[in-house]
Amino acid sequence: MYNGPNTATGIWKPSISPGKQVKSVRFTQVKISSSDTSLNGLAANLVFQLASSNAEMKKIAFFKGKALSNELVFQVAGEQKNLEEFFKGQEITFVVDYDLIPDEWNENLTFTLEFDAELITD
């Protein structure tokens, strides 16, 4: 990893009760943190998106500027249309794009993503 745009991904397999279908989804809070390495001073301009084989990528939240602590609270997108489409597939890929500030970084970075979301099922 070098200075500049980088990407972290993670896969989530949501478990919805059998027979239930997700009708609407809204993310209300998104936080990112790092325990083994420090976000502080390393990362900037983080953008959290959802990707899936059965839905178009959606931008959910972002943090603008340089990280000045190990836990960042994102600004959540106002419009969150058709997010229920992501729950029709087997898995959802979390994509966090970010800028890495140091010129060179030789270790893996591990982020923990926490979010609150309102899911309405039928």
């Binding site: 953008v47 972002f62 603008k64």
Partner: protein, 154 residues
Amino acid sequence: MKKYTQLFTFFLLINFSAFSQTAEIKADQLTGVWEPSHGKARVKIDKIADKYFGKIVWLREPNDPSTQQPKVDKNNPDESLRQVPLKGYRILKDFIFKDGEWADGTIYDPENGSTYNCVVKMRDQNTLDIRGYIGIKTFGRTDVWKRLEIKKKP
């Protein structure tokens, strides 16, 4: 006769497997860093969840002349996303490789905040035809992107 059938099936399976690998290698040729014809940006295309996405990794003018601050997505239709930095912005989304081209994706133009349907064709290994359109492919515009060779740091 049974032996022949088994051999034939095995042969077919081997061939199918080879075909899948070739298709995947060809599809992955899209990954890399590309420069649109206007030269104002460079876009890195990568593969996420079996689709292809491209994000801006370099801007010729990284700062907005009016604010002297890093450019942001000021024309986004969603007002809450207008402070998202353009560097790192994913302007190509959700492309699937089929029939020798990358289709079903979209391209976003940050200069006007519009999203267009898009299909990508590879003219040769270092040249892409990126066609953005609304509705049907006939009514659109094609831009030629060139691959940039990235020199790894020693």
